[in-house]
């Protein structure tokens, strides 16, 4: 990240901020989409986060920490979007199909479906930790710094989230009641 751009934007230079927003916008949007699981909400969150970043940028003491701080702003906005839109997350269900499909392909689709459902059950706090760590490859200490929470809380949230996702996948792997009855 160009520190000079950050410093100029802190001083109110709109062109500098436009360049900054273009440089970081794709990553913010990708993270917002993965946390919120909804394109429209992700667009709203990205736009709101960029405006919040512009508004609060003069208060950023260390320009070298711009990127991490920007993610923190984004996660806060995602949290607000998530709370405002509790009804937005429809549960995805893989409808049974009579079409013949390759076994591996079907399994992959089922896994995606179960991951999606499991992930949507997580709180925004838990999702944020999963996305920052497993999508952006941030080390856990860095996730803690970005989210301004203790490292132990990050580990706890990641542990719980991954356990829940594993449980969602395992639930799919167990035979259903109907399958049991047919045997």
């Amino acid at each position: 990240m160009d520190i000079n751009l950050v410093a100029r934007a802190q001083d109110g230079d709109e062109e500098a901020f436009e360049s900054l927003a273009l440089a970081i916008g794709d990553r913010l949007h990708a993270v917002a989409h993965r946390i919120l699981r909804d394109l429209d909400l992700a667009e709203d969150a990205t736009q709101q986060a960029l405006l919040s970043i512009w508004r609060d940028l003069p208060g950023l003491r260390d320009p070298t920490k711009f990127e991490g701080w920007a993610y923190r702003v984004l996660v806060r906005v995602c949290y607000m979007e998530g709370r405002r839109s509790r009804a937005w997350a429809p549960n995805l269900h893989l409808l049974p199909s009579d079409d013949p499909v390759q076994a591996d392909g079907a399994k992959l689709v089922i896994d995606r479906d179960e991951l999606e459902r499991g992930f949507r059950r997580l709180s925004i706090d838990h999702r944020a930790v999963v996305v920052l760590h497993h999508y952006l490859d941030m080390p856990l200490d860095r996730v803690a710094e970005v989210l301004d929470i203790p490292p132990g809380t990050v580990r706890s949230r990641l542990h719980y989230a991954m356990r829940a996702l594993r449980a969602a996948l395992d639930a799919d792997a167990r035979p259903s009641v109907r399958e049991e009855a047919v045997r």
Binding site: A21, A30, L50, T64, L115, Y135, G152, L165
Partner: protein, 514 residues
């Protein structure tokens, strides 16, 4: 089949790779359109802000002399005995102007600190490592310090090596020995009731020759977790003390252009500081006036819409941990809307998914609420639940760092407890969510038992996905627990009704008019 942890990580990472990777043009265009209409927030001049940005105020020599005179004043512990108990406002987490009044610094900062600020002061925000207030010419930081620069003027020299030790004296000695800093000899003092060490640092006349490799401010004193630097001719009075395991540093920064009024003001604010304050009330969140007499809230059955009063019997703990009921119950009032019924511990809107509200105590918290009878997890240690913080922690134990290698399978999710005002007290707030895939009938005795009150009544989950908001309030000596809950199926109208009802619920401390 149970999947291995590593397999799940690989699958999650692959799944996260799917999805959008670029921001649509309409998003950035919308931002650009809004920029001219969105005013940037400028920080005031204090440690947490941007010191060099504001236009200097030119002061006469007399003011500077006065500044030195006032600055020499000792830290005066507040004499809390004769003063009226303050009404605390929770300290804002974001940078903002403050109204004159008393503020309580708390979460996420590790020490609770009360202070009273005058008109015209602002906060630079509140984080787990720093809380800052000030005006243009003076600033007061409460912070923790972990690493000190070896040479404030030449930051490429890195941090003091070996690192500063953990004690108050270690830090005071390290700061007093910094090259290029005109520092006073650390001396013992008392801040509030806490032993402390104080010293004063005076910034250099110029930082023009200082070198800084990372583009940050020059003449930094410490660099972790927060930067702290001195501009030319700034005076920095420091107090270092240990409170509840946290080595706290208080920094009072006085810029050479600070006005006499500002210098007087910062001394007033310093004198108002209280650590872990136990007196005063939280600014009212709509406190009603206790009325002389209201009809008693029925204990069961439908309730006619009206305002009612009820009694809550709280308990105190003896030294051996025995819960003893207080001699008198606390009095509560609530305005019940149409179509609500009494549940014994509270009220609930009629219908299978009606919102519910209850008031009472918590004596036992089940760690595995679904397998509450057969699980080996057992109960949260009751000894940990005798304080407001301890009880709030117990009610969020499923998210406590390090509490479990593997939490119970159908444990609730919980938020971390935070400070909230409740009934003019400082309360703690937690949200629980019951897993939406738990089958209640499969739990022990068909019950998902979260806690029991001091009379043995169980708080059972009402269904999968139930969202429970919990307030814990310390009524000294009793701990009051209020919970408000909804189910996923609860209608939007019923949720709104609960929000309207909540402010009408009020529990009066025992010493209030009855």
């Amino acid at each position: 089949m149970t999947r291995q942890r590593a397999d799940v990580e690989v699958m999650v990472r692959a799944w996260l790779e799917e999805g959008v990777t670029s921001m649509p043009d309409r998003v950035i265009n919308g931002v650009i359109d809004q920029l001219p209409l969105t005013r940037q927030r400028r920080r005031h001049r204090m440690g947490i802000g941007t010191l060099g940005r504001l236009t200097p105020v030119i002061l006469g020599a007399a003011a500077v002399l006065l500044a030195v005179a006032i600055g020499a004043a000792l830290f005066i512990p507040p004499d809390v005995g004769d003063e009226a108990a303050p009404e605390w406002h929770l300290f804002p987490s974001q940078a903002t102007e403050l109204e004159a009044g008393s503020y309580l610094i708390g979460d996420p900062f590790p020490v609770r600190i009360g202070l009273t600020v005058p008109e015209g002061w602002e906060t630079g925000g509140l984080r787990s490592t720093i809380a800052a207030v000030g005006s243009a010419g003076v600033g007061l930081d409460f912070t923790v310090v972990e690493a000190v620069y070896a040479d404030p003027c030449h930051l490429e020299a890195g941090l003091v090596d070996p690192p500063v030790g953990p004690t108050v004296d270690d830090l005071a000695s390290a700061l007093a020995a910094l090259p290029g800093v005109n520092a006073s000899v650390p001396t013992d003092t008392v801040v509030g009731t806490y032993p402390a060490v104080t010293l004063t640092l005076n910034g250099p006349r110029s930082v023009g020759a200082c070198t800084v490799p990372d583009g940050g401010p020059k003449f930094r004193i410490w660099g972790a977790p927060e930067w702290h630097w001195l501009d030319p001719n700034v005076r920095d009075r420091l107090w270092i003390l240990e409170i509840a395991g946290t080595r706290l540093v208080i920094s009072a920064l006085e810029h050479p252009d600070a006005s006499p009024q500002e210098l007087a003001a910062i001394n007033g604010v310093i004198a108002s500081i209280e650590f872990e304050p136990t007196r005063g009330t939280i600014a009212p969140d709509g406190s009603p006036t206790p009325t002389a007499s209201l009809p008693p809230l029925p204990s069961s059955g439908p309730i006619a819409p009206a305002e009612y009063e009820f009694a809550v019997r709280l308990h105190r703990y003896t030294e051996d941990g025995t819960a003893v009921p207080l001699a008198r119950p606390s009095r509560g009032i609530v305005e019940v809307p149409v179509d609500w019924s009494a549940t014994g511990t509270g009220i609930q809107k009629d219908g299978p998914a009606g919102p519910a509200l209850s008031v009472g105590t918590v004596a036992r918290v089940y760690i595995d609420p679904c397998r509450w009878e057969t699980s080996g997890f057992g109960l949260v240690d009751p000894a940990l639940m005798r304080s407001m913080d301890g009880l709030a922690n117990a009610l969020s134990i499923w998210e406590r760092p390090g509490a479990f290698d593997e939490p119970p399978l159908f444990a609730p999710t919980a938020t971390e407890p935070i400070d909230v005002p409740r009934y003019s007290q400082l309360g703690r707030y937690v949200e629980l969510t019951i897993p939406d895939d738990v089958v209640m009938a499969d739990c022990d005795r068909g019950e998902y038992r979260i806690w029991e009150d001091l009379d043995g009544r169980a708080r059972l989950a009402r269904g999968p996905g139930e969202e429970i908001r919990i307030w814990v309030v310390d009524y000294e000596p009793g701990l009051l627990v209020v919970d408000a809950s909804v189910l996923p199926q609860t209608s939007a109208a019923d949720r709104r009704e609960l929000e309207q009802l909540l402010p009408t619920l009020w529990v009066f401390p025992l010493d209030e008019p009855r």
